[in-house]
């Protein structure tokens, strides 16, 4: 696509956004229910949220880069970047947030059968099914591959028993993509990546109260859950081959790490100027720390840009998302430490209107999970040692 075509697309996009994105959807997200997750039981908080979602859904803009056949708009990477930029320019909220879009979708695009893509990608794009991810187990955190949840082969179905933990929004999800051991004798090649309904008999969830006072994660229990091997012609219940789910899991972990890294701008903002404005006189030593942070944040911003540019053309080292996740999450934790320090006693308020219900302190506590979820910083450093630096025995 030529530059002039791209500029025409930009003008078109700008006009479409102007016509379709309600003013309320250009306000910052304040509460959890400002985010629309879709799903069987979803409700809209406002007419504006509904209108914005439906306009995007009909245009394929809930998943702009996916093919049209699967509910997307079939945009090229350059066009998708233009749409992102134009949405950012008016602070448009994402019309639909979901683990289907971020996680399962990319896995299906890469490993799915045509039948799986037709069914599940369209459901995701239209916001009809809300997914959750069943990876970690109580005994399998960093050492994920040791997972024990077992699916016993019963011919035309599996019977799944076991427990997952840190399942994000499992209590609100319709379906789960889940790592299930199907061969006890094969560590890496004995795991199957299964898709099944959370309404199945034997599935139960229990939210976990975190130090932030919120419960985004659950324990999820499977007690003789019957999972059919097929949902119709060319729609098997597993993604990839049976016993080869670890390949899918690894691919998805790369995606997840990239997402958590905030390479796309999530973790790159500076804070010094805003904190100095908001909190008055700043201790000179803290000012120095803020400046050090801003240097690191701006430098990481350039790294994110470089990383995404290189990914597009296949120049990035395949293990580079691990480095991005490590650097991005450590930076984000530091950001919130400094925000707490600059905010003083105001930032300590746990329940007050002034702080929108304790945002500073709850967010600060939430960031501590950044360097744990999706692979700890220590695991990221192990991976860099082994796969990039080629150090022995790592």
């Amino acid at each position: 696509m030529s530059d002039s075509d791209l500029e025409a697309f930009r003008a078109e996009t700008r006009a479409w956004l102007e016509a379709n994105c309600p003013p309320e959807m250009r306000e910052p997200v304040r509460d959890e229910d400002d985010i629309y997750w879709g799903g069987r039981n979803a409700t809209f908080k406002s007419d504006a949220q509904k209108a914005w979602f439906e306009a995007c859904r009909d245009k394929g803009y809930t998943v702009p880069a996916w093919p049209r056949d699967y509910g997307g708009a079939g945009l090229s990477p350059a066009q998708a970047k233009v749409l992102r930029e134009e949405m950012a320019a008016i602070n448009a909220r994402p019309p639909l947030s979901s683990f289907g879009i971020w996680m399962l979708g990319p896995a299906l695009l890469h490993f799915g059968t045509e039948g799986q893509k037709q069914r599940f990608l369209n459901e995701i794009a239209r916001g009809e099914i809300r997914w959750c991810q069943g990876y970690s187990e109580p005994g399998s955190g960093s050492d994920l591959v040791s997972l024990q949840t077992f699916g016993e082969d019963k011919g035309d179905h599996w019977v799944v028993n076991g427990q997952k933990i840190w399942t994000s929004y499992a209590d609100k999800a319709d379906w789960i993509f889940c790592l299930v051991r199907t061969d006890k004798d094969n560590k890496y090649q004995g795991i199957t990546f299964m898709l099944y309904d959370m309404a199945s008999a034997g599935v139960s969830t229990k939210p976990i109260l975190l130090i932030s006072g919120n419960s985004p994660f659950c324990e999820t229990f499977f007690d003789d859950v019957k999972v059919p091997k097929s949902y119709g012609e060319d729609v098997p219940a597993q993604v990839g081959e049976v016993n080869r789910g670890w390949d899918v899991a690894k691919y998805l972990l790369g995606h997840e790490r990239e997402m958590i890294s905030g390479a796309d701008g999530g973790n790159t903002g500076t804070i010094g100027a805003a904190l100095a404005r908001a909190n008055g006189a700043i201790d000179p030593v803290l000012r120095a720390e803020l400046a050090q942070f801003d240097v690191d944040a701006l430098a990481y911003g350039a790294m994110g840009e470089k990383f995404l540019d290189e990914i597009k053309v296949g120049k990035a080292h395949p293990a580079q998302p691990n480095m991005m996740k490590y650097a991005g999450t450590e930076l984000n934790k530091r950001r919130h430490e400094l925000m707490m320090a600059a905010g003083g006693s105001h930032a300590l308020e746990w329940e007050s209107e002034e702080t929108s219900g304790g945002k500073p302190s709850r967010n600060w506590l939430r960031t501590k999970a950044n360097s744990i979820e999706g692979g700890t910083s220590e695991v990221m450093l192990n991976v860099i040692s082994k796969r990039i630096l080629d150090l022995p025995g790592a």
Binding site: A299, A302, E310, L381, I384, S385, D390
Partner: protein, 379 residues
């Protein structure tokens, strides 16, 4: 513009990398001249080769006989210089002085550019006064005298000053020391009467001059750019030099890191290769992550300079500060992880530590630039 090298830049990186690793290697250049107590601190033969490759005029316009390339390309050469610790006047002559001469009249260019391009001469820049880089304050004075000027004062940290045929001097022609306006740049020839050098060897074996100007008489045509309007040219020099020295610092960091990781793969203790110890693996991986980030922001800053972006000045300071932190980490980790052998002169890792220390100070250290980032951001 994507944040990676295009095909031409990749080719330049390969060429410069190979050239510096062979001709500009530590053994052939840094150790060779150091061990002979060379008063220049670099090899003129190598500088000739720089000219043959076109590197001397990499930033000089094609109309003036140069390659007409940008900061990204100059940085590519500098990163290779850093990796190989190649002593050369490239940064002072071909980046800083060449940037100043870009703003000179045709007469000024005609007088000085040809022998820079040919590799016959090298040029220096005299900016700092005192031990730390504070270019906001310029006290060196040039007073009107007949048709020209009379220059008095002192300059410090003039790299390869004693070997320089000409030195670009930032002096005050009006106002008080800390005024932004009233600065003028002069091309001062080596043989100017009243200029004296106190040339000293630095920790990294490079040479630097303390220069005293004692009523040095200069013609009006020694002025580069406008009288009293030198600050803009000086700013352009500083941005180019800071981004350039960040690139050299990235090279130093990469050179030290590569050497160290190699060592971790080979050195055995307690019956195994020390690279198997997680304590060392994590430090090496953290270093890798930091070096990648430092390199990314340096390329970003160079692209902004070439694009004439108003953010270039801020990002030059970000790059200089980040690289200083990271290169410092790289050389300290390098020496520590090498253990006892890292303390020996025979082993190259210590040479990286020395070069890094000198680069840290050049055109402002991490504290100066971190503070500058805060100021430019409004706090």
């Amino acid at each position: 513009m994507p944040l990676y090298y295009d095909d031409d830049q990749t080719m330049l990186a390969d060429t410069a990398g190979q050239f510096m690793a062979e001709e500009g290697s530590i053994k052939n250049q840094l150790r060779h001249w150091r061990d002979r107590d060379c008063k220049d601190g670099f090899g003129h033969g190598l500088w000739q080769q720089f000219a043959e490759m076109g590197f001397t005029g990499i930033l000089v316009d094609e109309d003036d006989g140069g390659l007409g390339m940008g900061q990204v390309e100059a940085n590519i050469v500098l990163e290779e210089i850093g990796r190989n610790l190649t002593p050369s006047p490239f940064l002072s002559s071909s980046v800083l002085a060449a940037t100043a001469l870009k703003h000179g009249s045709n007469d000024v260019k005609g007088r000085w550019l040809p022998s820079l391009l040919s590799g016959e001469k090298v040029y220096g820049v005299a900016i700092d006064e005192g031990r730390k880089h504070r270019p906001e304050t310029i006290g060196c004075k040039a007073e009107k005298s007949g048709n020209g000027f009379k220059l008095s004062g002192k300059k410090d940290f003039v790299i390869y000053g004693a070997s320089s045929e000409m030195i670009v001097v930032a002096a005050r022609t009006s106002g008080s020391d800390s005024d932004r306006d009233g600065v003028t740049l002069f091309a001062v020839p080596q043989d100017a009467a009243g200029m004296s050098h106190d040339s000293v060897r630095l920790v990294d074996s490079s040479m630097a001059s303390h220069i005293t100007f004692d009523g040095v008489e200069l013609d009006g045509d020694a002025v580069i750019g406008e009288v009293d309007g030198g600050r803009e040219v000086l700013d352009a020099m500083l941005v180019a030099g800071r981004v350039g020295s960040a690139a050299e610092g990235v090279g130093v960091a990469r050179g030290a890191m590569d050497m160290t990781v190699d060592y971790l793969r080979q050195r055995k203790q307690f019956g195994k290769v020390i690279g198997e110890f997680q304590a060392l693996q994590h430090r090496a991986s953290h270093l890798y992550s930091e070096v990648e980030i430092a390199r990314a922001v340096t390329i970003k800053a160079a692209q902004l300079v070439d694009g004439g972006s108003e953010k270039a000045d801020l990002m030059a300071s970000v790059a200089k500060a980040k690289v200083a932190k990271v290169a410092g980490l790289a050389v300290r980790e390098g020496v520590q992880m090498h253990g006892g052998i890292g303390m020996t002169d025979e082993y190259d890792i210590g040479l990286y530590m020395k070069r890094d220390r000198a680069l840290q100070e050049f055109l402002g250290d991490q504290y100066y630039h971190t503070g500058r980032v805060a100021e430019l951001s409004g706090y």
